[in-house]
């Protein structure tokens, strides 16, 4: 379980806050989507969970331990992280990218290799074809599958995903979203997923946390945020796609 308790983050010594007084918890096995437009503080929140950024105030716990009391290196190796805009290491083969965390953890070669091959298969990449390629020899969608495989390599209980599909075309994005849902059902990971895409949030989330200007506006199930919006902003946020959908349905044959 991940718990955030009155967490704030200011980059300028307290004049402005990227995240202000944020409290939420992520239950075991659920997918929590942090939804908001850019600059709302969702990526900052995600990075604070594995100490890529440290909070200015408040407390973040993973399984009951304050992250600030944990060794940041060990913490990051124990939490899977899928980066915005892919973030593979361009000078390493696909296999090397996938096995990087096991490598850092000191696994034996054979074990690493077995794990990397298993994961590539899991994310739908043929080992024989892709394992020895370099990231720039793969399509964007394939690269992001590798990104997911890399995050899963050390079998972490938690997966942090920072707009992983943002840069992909709509069709690929949809495919990967469906695959992620399937993976989650199979692996039972606890996921914190950051997106600005309402549809993506509705597709993947168990619960949605709506952030705006660093503050949590509403935290609830898909039904809650759709039907009982906490304020005008949340209502508008979910109303807009509804209107777009309606417009689309008007045109559809």
């Amino acid at each position: 379980m991940i718990t955030l308790e009155r967490v704030s983050k200011s980059y300028d010594g307290g004049r402005t806050y990227a995240v202000r007084d944020l409290s939420l918890h992520v239950a075991e096995g659920e997918t929590l989507v942090l939804l908001g437009s850019s600059g709302c503080g969702k990526t900052t929140t995600l990075k604070m969970i594995n100490r890529l950024i440290e909070p200015t105030a408040g407390r973040i716990e993973i399984d009951g331990t304050d992250v600030l009391d944990q060794d940041p290196i060990a913490l990051r190796r124990s939490v899977g992280y899928v980066f915005q805009g892919i973030g593979l290491f361009p000078h390493m083969t696909i296999r090397r990218n996938v096995e990087i965390v096991p490598l850092l953890l000191g696994w034996a070669l054979a074990e690493r290799r077995r794990r990397a091959d298993e994961l590539l298969k899991l994310v739908g990449l043929n080992t024989a074809t892709y394992a020895e390629r370099y990231p720039d020899e793969l399509s964007g969608g394939q690269q992001q599958r590798v990104g997911v495989a890399r995050a899963l390599a050390a079998d972490p209980a938690y997966l942090l995903m920072d707009e992983p599909f943002g840069a992909l075309d709509a069709v690929t994005r949809d495919t990967l979203q469906q695959e992620l849902l399937a993976l989650r059902r199979r692996l039972g990971k606890t996921i914190v997923f950051v997106t600005h895409d309402v549809f993506e949030a509705l597709t993947l989330a168990d619960r949605i946390a709506v952030l705006h200007d660093g503050r949590l506006l509403q935290l609830g199930s898909k039904k809650d945020v759709m039907h009982e919006p906490a304020d005008a902003f949340v209502r508008d946020l979910f109303a807009k796609p509804g209107r777009q959908l309606a417009a689309y349905q008007d045109l559809a044959p």
């Binding site: 290491f89 850092l104 020899e137």
Partner: protein, 550 residues
């Protein structure tokens, strides 16, 4: 063309070993610069406030002219040879390596670094596994720049006796032999390209092999290419070591005043024809008349370099001129008579430097202010006093040593109250030709310069007796004479052997006819019956000899 072929063929073994030395110097210096520069570049990235001072300091090193740098290191270290050369080359190599290391490390995209942090790499792992591999092409480009600059600058190290292809260039300049210049310069240029290519090849082979490139012919070359620079350096080390010039690395034992028990005598010389001839004659005499091994360390760039090499035991003997010893080394003035000056330098050298002046060779190579014979006739110049009134309209070409030395131009101005309109620094090798072609009107030649007659020039008489005597004589470390008394005996026949005219003729054989000093010296000694038993003596004096023979 065939002449060229023979010329190159004859020097092939030396070309081989000089190339090896050159690679050794450049390779070692670049290697040291990489070992020093990488950590400095890494530290500069991590510690921001280091950047400006470190890059500034290294940049300033880069702006020091290479000859000045060599001279400074020479006086700081007090030794000639490979050590100061390697230090100078290393200092020059630092800037491109440090700067490219910094640039390369900085250039790694933020998102990649964030990913490295995100998967839990420590700072050291980020550096080793991500930053350095991604910066490698930029870092290697810096190393290539450094190595190519190094190959170029290494040609200058020959001035301080470090060897390398610069030896050919030095000798080419000293002997006015463009073939030697080419023999030094062209291989140096080829070597620069080769070194550049070898390092590139190694970097290429370290680059990831892409799917699309696999199974291509080139892929098979990947592994061997990695070894290209190593192979070059290995070649340099092997040829240098096989050549075994331990003295080039500093001659430490002898420098501490202990005479080597090796039975080796190291002969030095300055970098012009007469010095090479005298050095060669002394070498021949010692080779034929003693069992000592002779090592030729010729072409050292100037009086002070020879003198310091002698006093520090890096060479055992060389030919010096009494006037030079008296004024330039002992910093004395006033005495004029040849006999007086010789007595003073002999006593002073014995007391202060532990070196012995042997009997002079016989000629007096004093400075001769020289003009075109035609000008002299037109203006009725016979003496320096005749020249003084019109000096302001004339352009002089002087060696930089003459320009600066108290017994050179400064003293001349006072003695005759003359001042030339312009005084240009010139290489001694070029000045006679510059004078005959009218580029300058006056030069400081030497009385024994073979070109005086050849170019139809006239040395003006020193009517006020300004120039001191410059009688040439062997100067030998006393310790060497004590351990090997046969050295004195072996050199004794050279005393009084050479007149001004003889020396002019021998100099002209080398400078004018482009013959090797070794051949001319051997031929002369043989003609005098000084090499081996009389029966085996070479052709009599004056008989035409094949160039390059000997």
């Amino acid at each position: 063309m065939t002449a060229w072929g023979a010329f190159i063929l004859e020097r092939l073994p030396e070309l081989w070993s000089r190339t090896g030395e050159h690679l050794f110097l450049t390779g070692l210096a670049t290697g040291i610069a990489v070992v020093l520069g990488l950590p400095v570049g890494i530290a500069c990235r991590r510690i921001r406030c280091l950047r400006a001072p470190v890059l500034g300091a290294i940049g300033i090193l880069q702006t020091i002219p290479s000859l000045a740098m060599l001279a400074i290191l020479l006086s700081l270290l007090g030794k000639i040879g490979a050590v100061p050369a390697i230090i100078a080359l290393t200092l020059y190599a630092l800037l491109p390596i440090v700067r490219n290391t910094l640039t390369g490390l900085e250039g790694v995209p933020d998102r990649v670094i964030e990913a490295a942090r995100g998967v839990g790499m420590t700072r050291g792992q980020q550096l080793r596994m991500v930053r350095i591999p991604l910066a490698l092409p930029v870092i290697v480009a810096g190393v290539r720049t450094a190595a190519v600059i190094g190959v170029g600058i290494a040609t200058l190290s020959a001035f301080i006796g470090a060897g390398g292809l610069g030896d050919f260039i030095n000798r080419g300049l000293a002997l006015r032999d463009s073939r030697l210049l080419v023999l030094g310069a062209v291989p140096a240029a080829i070597l620069a390209l080769l070194v550049d290519f070898a390092i590139w090849a190694a970097e290429w082979s370290a680059r990831p092999l892409r799917q699309s490139e696999r199974r291509r012919v080139l892929a098979a070359l990947k592994r061997p290419a990695l070894l290209a620079p190593a192979a070059l350096v290995a070649f340099g080390v092997v040829t240098s070591v096989l050549e075994l010039r331990p003295a080039r690395l500093g001659g430490g034992a002898a420098a501490r005043g202990r005479v080597g028990t090796s039975g080796t005598v190291r002969i030095g010389s300055k970098e012009f024809a007469e010095q090479l001839l005298l050095g060669e004659m002394m070498a021949r005499m010692l080779e034929t008349r003693t069992h000592l091994t002779v090592e030729r360390r010729f072409g050292l760039g100037g009086t002070m370099i020879c003198h310091e090499a002698l006093t520090r035991g890096e060479i055992d003997l060389y030919a010096e001129y009494t006037g030079t010893g008296y004024q330039a080394v002992l910093k004395q003035k006033g005495a004029r008579g040849a006999y007086t000056v010789f007595g003073i330098v002999r006593d002073q050298y014995r007391q202060r430097f532990g070196a012995e002046w042997l009997e002079p060779f016989g000629f007096n190579n004093t400075y001769a202010i020289t003009v075109r014979r035609a000008d002299a006739a037109r203006n009725r110049w016979r003496t320096l006093s005749d020249l003084a009134p019109t000096a302001a309209d004339l352009t002089a070409g002087f060696t930089s040593e003459f320009q600066e030395r108290a017994d050179g131009y400064p003293g001349l101005r006072r003695a005759y109250g003359l001042s030339f309109g312009k005084a240009i620094d010139m290489s001694p090798a070029l000045m006679a030709e510059a004078l005959s072609q009218g580029e300058v009107d006056v030069i400081c030649a030497f009385a024994t310069d073979g070109r005086i007659a050849a170019y139809n020039l006239l040395p003006l008489a020193d009517d006020r007796g300004y120039f001191p005597p410059y009688d040439a004589a062997p100067v030998v470390r006393t310790a060497v004479l004590a351990e090997h008394p046969e050295v004195r005996d072996a050199l004794a026949p050279l005393a009084g052997l050479l007149t001004d005219a003889t020396m002019q003729r021998l100099n002209y054989e080398v400078e004018g006819k482009q013959r090797s000093p070794a051949a001319v010296a051997a031929e002369f000694l043989a003609a005098k019956g000084l090499l081996g038993p009389p029966g085996r003596a070479a052709p009599p004096a004056g008989a035409p000899a094949k160039p390059g023979a000997g």
